[in-house]
């Protein structure tokens, strides 16, 4: 299919199901859908002709025909039995999503703080109406992104987390997205995370695909961090070669709020990560990190916008990528400092290593600054492994292959060191190590073996 056909298809699809949605939705949600639909209709589907989607491989994604259905596609087997993503020593509250839907047989979460709400988005829109409507789609509606609008039109379920004021969640919450079943699917997922005043949360989101179909996923995770709240956010993308993902992370930070975000793209077909961080409160702080390991014909495209709205806010962005074989990578980072956002500190770095003559990297670090009393910088490099360092290691009896692995690992380890949860850090380190060795990074304890059937 071409872009025009896909555009028409999505419009037709939405018109077909909108009456059904209207019956199931709360009025508020249905209105957001309609607003998004209007935006989508006006803006169209951006492809490589659009500056922001130049290198995302949209034409390739949309060349397939994907099926979308509102009907529940819950798994027939008990996913809890199969899935056991145990990060050694890391005790997490596991929540499963099945094809974008909150899994009906999720184990009850025990021992979590009182008043913390964890439930499906479907449930939240009625049961926790007040909180839900205060936050849902607020940042997304400010964006002009057509794919985000597409998600707002179709997404029907996902995870809802609300951490009340002054609450520190004792365990990491782990959300596992499982995509399974036959046929090429279009999956829309939507998560809403609210961290209250002085509250703290650590969240890890893992994507797994259990079939060999070509799937196209459009995700949105919206996170709102209230005054002095702190969110540690980790995304672990470990998808098969045929999958296509457009992943959107929206962040809004109030006064003194903080986020540490890690976007770890270990494996995937076509991955596009959009990140919008809005530092709307004074003294807010965003630390945004990304690692991508790409090989074969994979594509990775990281697109980030950091918007400093209030004075004294700080952002640190560090993205590192290794490109092997015929991989294509791109990075676009834009720092915006709004008028009046004085004393902003914004630092951005993007470093990449190309290992083969076929690998391609494009990087586009941008600064847009409208306030004078700021310190902003960006840097970008594309290069190779350091010959001298390789020589040094080989002199000491480490063979060529091992020396290269060591240097590559050291290259991304900078970012892993920023992870505060040690068991998670170790686990990710071993996944990365395995990945660099060309092994599929199966999560050792899990029975699903997502990547054995390529």
């Amino acid at each position: 299919m071409d872009i025009e056909t896909s555009y028409k298809k999505y419009i037709r699809l939405f018109e077909e199901i909108s009456s059904k949605l209207k019956n199931e939705d709360s009025e508020f949600v249905f209105n957001t859908r309609m607003a998004a639909f209007k935006k989508f209709k006006d803006a169209g589907l951006p492809d490589h002709n659009h500056e922001n989607y130049k290198y995302a491989g949209i034409a390739e994604i949309l060349s397939e025909d994907y099926e979308f259905s509102l009907e529940s596609r819950q798994a027939l087997v008990d996913l809890n039995q199969f899935f056991e993503c145990e990060v050694k020593d890391l005790d997490t509250h596991v929540i499963l999503l099945s094809n974008g839907e909150y899994y009906q047989n999720n184990k009850p979460i025990e021992g979590i703080n009182e008043n913390v709400i964890i439930c499906s988005l479907k449930e939240a829109k009625f049961k926790h109406k007040e909180i839900f409507e205060k936050y849902y789609n607020k940042t997304v509606s400010e964006s002009n992104d057509s794919y985000a609008a597409l998600n707002a039109m179709f997404a029907n379920d996902g995870l809802f987390i609300y951490i009340p004021d002054n609450t520190k969640v004792n365990k990491t919450i782990q959300l596992v997205n499982l995509t399974h079943g036959f046929g090429n699917k279009n999956v829309f997922k939507r998560n809403l995370v609210v961290v209250g005043k002085n509250a703290e949360l650590s969240l890890i989101i893992c994507d797994h695909t259990l079939n060999n179909s070509k799937n196209f996923t459009i995700d949105i995770t919206e996170s709102y961090i209230e005054e002095n709240g702190y969110l540690q956010y980790h995304t672990l993308q470990n998808e098969p070669n045929k999958s296509s993902v457009i992943n959107n992370l929206f962040i809004q930070l109030e006064r003194y709020a903080r986020i540490n975000s890690f976007v770890l793209s270990l494996h995937g077909g076509i991955i596009r990560n959009n990140l919008y961080a809005k530092l709307s409160g004074e003294n807010s702080e965003a630390n945004l990190y990304g690692v991508n390991l790409t090989d074969r014909k994979q594509r990775i495209d990281n697109f980030t916008i950091i918007d400093h709205i209030s004075p004294n806010s700080t952002s640190n962005e560090l993205y590192k990528g290794i490109l092997d074989e015929e991989a294509k990578g791109s990075f676009a980072g834009r720092i915006i400092v709004r008028p009046g956002a004085q004393k902003t500190n914004a630092y951005q770095t993007n470093k990449n290593i190309c290992l083969t003559p076929e690998a391609k990297m494009r990087t586009k670090p941008q600064l847009e600054i409208y306030a004078d009393d700021v310190k902003c910088s960006h840097g970008a490099t594309v290069g190779q492994l350091d010959e001298d360092a390789l020589f040094y290691l080989r002199q000491r009896g480490i063979d060529y292959k091992e020396a290269r692995l060591l240097l590559m690992f050291a290259f991304v380890n900078d970012i892993l060191l920023k992870m505060e949860i040690e068991p998670l850090r170790n686990r990710v380190a071993s996944l990365i190590n395995a990945r660099l060795r060309g092994e599929f990074s199966d999560c050792s304890h899990c029975l699903l073996n997502c990547h054995t059937r390529e």
Partner: protein, 482 residues
């Protein structure tokens, strides 16, 4: 101290444009508007050969189907291309045989600008082509240069005297349909400079063109073509000014540079078109396409630019590094003030092996201006072992201006290294305090710091221009630089 500093910045940002006078010269105009007839008339007027007319018409055909680019970080008001005069020339005799025949008013204009149009000013050692509105007025030192085989003349003259060279290279670097403004220029360009350095010749003096817009309601479309044959060297400079008028004026030029094997071209610009007044009224729209090609191995092109004028600047001097081991440099200082807007930078396109490029860009924004750096570094697959280093710094003087950086980096092989760095800051209170402590007044300190900030680029200018550029910065920095 804060207040005092603000006042100094205020003084600096409100200084006046010094070249805004209007010369009273008799003009010959074309009627307003743009169509095929105008182009034919223009071509006829200049006695152009058939192939050049065809070139113009093809470009015009292409231009009609193009849209004005919108991607730049600029707010460009709608331009009515039918409301412009595409040819305005001082009424003159067929050709000046000697200096005395030049309209004294024209001569006075250039004297006022400090341009050594008279050959008696030999000391200045610069060969000059002066372009007033649509035509080249006078080229100096032609005979001296001819002895060495160097051709340096107006574009119209080159079309007549050296049609083979012009035909061979015109449009070879910037094709007629390259972009909206290049296509417009290709259709209606009126004059410009042509320069050819033969094999093995090192040009003994700086070549220079001075552009001046004087007539009202006219657009200036000039074309520069520089060809450096094997093993040659030339340093070329370009300067521009315009009178203060309330309406906006359009300037869309094209510059093409060809450097063959082992040749080196150094191209410097001091761009000081009228920037408009404090309220953003008037000023020149400067939409320029400049591109060079390092065609042969070991060739070198370097761009140095000081951009202080123009209401809107849209300009990306670029180099295609085609020959192996070729080198290109780009040094730029761009100052914007009041309501000026600038979207400027460079493109380095690496095609040959072992090619290297350096980019140093310094932006200074004041008042309510917006100053953007936009650049591309592209390393193609076969450009193995290539190297690029880019540095883009922005300095903000005031809280209502904007400084932006939009670099694009594309690398398609594994043996090349590309680095990019950018910073944005204001003059810190610490720096001012440090100077104050040592007995330097705040006023002098601001000047010192800004000068130091731009020095890296100013040092790259040829001596004659460095002086002018420094003066220009001083005008902008009036009240703060000693």
């Amino acid at each position: 101290m804060e207040k005092e500093q603000d006042k100094i910045l205020q003084d600096f940002t409100s200084s006046e444009y010094k070249f805004g006078f209007i010369s009273d010269i008799e003009y010959e105009h074309f009627p307003k508007g743009l169509n095929e007839d105008i182009i034919r008339l223009l071509s006829e007027k200049k006695n152009e050969p058939e192939w050049l007319l065809e070139f113009r018409l093809k470009a015009f055909e292409r231009w009609k189907n193009m849209k004005m680019p919108k991607w730049a970080h600029l707010e460009i008001p709608e331009i009515n291309y039918q409301d412009l005069i595409y040819y305005a020339a001082p009424k003159q005799k067929a050709k000046y045989a000697s200096l005395d025949e030049i309209d004294p008013e024209i001569k006075a204009t250039f004297d006022k600008l400090g341009i050594p149009i008279g050959e008696q000013k030999r000391l200045s050692g610069v060969a000059m082509d002066a372009v007033l509105d649509s035509v080249s007025v006078k080229t100096t030192f032609q005979e001296t240069l001819a002895e060495k085989g160097i051709i340096f003349c107006s574009f119209s003259e080159a079309v007549k005297e050296h049609p083979d060279l012009v035909k061979k290279y015109l449009g070879s670097v910037v094709p007629y349909g390259d972009n909206y403004f290049a296509a417009l220029n290709s259709a209606v360009f009126s004059d410009g400079s042509f320069c050819y350095i033969p094999k093995g010749v090192r040009c003994p003096m700086e070549l220079s063109t001075y552009f001046r817009i004087n007539a009202a309601n006219s657009g200036q479309f000039e074309r520069t073509l520089i060809v450096a044959d094997e093993d040659s060297y030339v340093s070329y400079m370009e300067g521009c000014t315009a009178p203060m008028r309330d309406e906006k004026q359009l300037h869309a030029a094209v510059v093409e540079i060809v450097a063959l094997k082992n040749a080196e071209v150094k191209y410097s610009t001091v761009q000081n078109w009228y920037p408009g007044d404090k309220e953003g009224k008037g000023g020149i729209y400067n939409f320029v396409t400049k591109r060079g090609i390092c065609k042969g191995d070991n060739s070198k092109i370097s761009w140095t630019q000081v951009e202080t004028g123009s209401a809107i600047t849209w300009k990306y001097p670029s180099t295609i590094l085609k020959g192996d081991n070729s080198v290109s440099e780009f040094y730029s200082v761009a100052v914007t003030n009041h309501f000026q807007q600038a979207d400027t930078g460079t493109k380095m396109i690496h095609l040959g092996k072992n090619t290297s490029s350096t980019i140093v860009s310094k932006g200074i924004s004041a008042g309510r201006s917006n100053n953007s750096y936009r650049g591309l570094v592209k390393i193609a697959k076969n450009a193995v072992n290539s190297r690029n280093f880019s540095q883009c710094d922005s300095l903000l003087l005031g809280d209502k201006c904007g400084a932006h950086t939009f670099p694009y980096i594309e690398v398609e092989n594994e043996s090349s290294i590309v680095e990019h760095e950018a910073t944005t800051s204001k003059i810190s209170e610490d720096q001012i305090f440090y100077c104050n402590q040592r007995g330097i007044s705040t006023e002098d300190a601001v000047g010192l710091i800004v000068n130091g900030y731009a020095r890296e680029v100013l040092n790259k200018l040829p001596m004659e221009f460095a002086v002018e550029a420094q003066k220009l910065l001083q005008i902008s920095l009036e009240g703060s630089v000693g």
